[in-house]
Amino acid sequence: MLYTNLKHLESAADHQKAISENENVMVILGRMGPMCIPVYGIAEDLETEYKHVKFYDMEFDNPESYVIRNLPEVRGFMGIPFTIYYKNGKVVKATSSIQTREQVTAILDKEFAAVVTA
């Protein structure tokens, strides 16, 4: 069980719903380990700042996580967490292992740039 403050995806159906109903989605697939926890913490912090992005986590050992583990974008990944960024249901970026806040925000800013209206 992931005891983070993020919204949890418990099933493939949850995952499908999350990426189809939201334009910008970040999903962290991991365990409660030293490489994953810092990434959950970063996502928790960013939730208030990046309101146009939905943040979720999913347990790596949940059999339903095949929806992420079988993605072509994670082929060759050998370190958790797998962090997947979806735009309109499509994977736009995926990273493996621990990331810094700067690495995460660089991706969010590039892939999910908020539309600024004058």
């Binding site: 005891y3 365990r31 490489m35 913490g41 370190g79 621990i98």
Partner: protein
Amino acid sequence: MESNKHYDAIVIGAGPAGLTAGIYLSRARLRTLIINEGTVGGQMILTHEIANYPGVESISGYQLAGIMKKQAVAFGCEIRSNISIRNMELNEELKTIVLSDGSIYTTDGVILTPGGRSRTLGVPGEDHLKGKGISYCATCDGDFFTNKEIVVVGGGNSALEEAVSLTKYASKVTIVHQFDHFQAFEHAVEEARTNSKIHFVMESAITAFHGNENLEHVDIRNLKTGNLSRFKTDGVFIFIGYIPNTEFLKGKIELNQWGEIVVKNDMSTSIEGVYAAGDSIAKRFRQVTTAVGDGTVAALAVSNYLHELKAKQKQLITA
């Protein structure tokens, strides 16, 4: 971004030492801010189970950190996490801290609790292949290397214990260590030496990682002969200890040869009004309980310092 806000005390770091200091300072009704570069909890959150924290039979480090944070916030402590410090001026009586987002804070007292982090090799290819063959956590990533040949770097307890644990998955584990002997406890060395899957490359160091999509080879230099060889491997696990997060303090405060902050018994540092606590100070034992104790002492000492400072300032006004 906030600017020009004043606090009685600022704590830099939100591990157990920093959170404890935050709890004590806020409860003493001192306006307190904790600034933390990473996730609140420090190294403590990386511990799966803490079973030796008095009063709590068993708890995960993540949960214990959450409770400490809640306590600190409940007493009025403010916390800014996942943000870095751009600049600090600690020598003056009124100390100034500038954050990476441009926020400027002033304070009368500072407690440094930046903690430590896993050491990396810092050689070419390491950043690029992290998570693609290079790992720092056997529990996290061991199963990706089932029936594969891997390398473990290091010679301390963590390296040898994790090498043994990785033999559950890997077909062969080669330990690469820079010295001709191990620093680990004898029983850990013995367990590794008697494991038929483990091989040893001593007095050697990895100098580069190679691979496109995934790690394919490493360069290993024999430190005695200088010979360089290319070694095929599916993965490398690095366990070469911890280093204090004190780079930002170099030249600003007294550090020892290992970069640890030198403190007196009351946790005061070489600068008046600046205290330090936790894993980043020069000491022998590093536990959550010792960090909590250090944080308590530092907070009480800062409270006392602030009380004396206010009395001194009052005297100057009335004189």
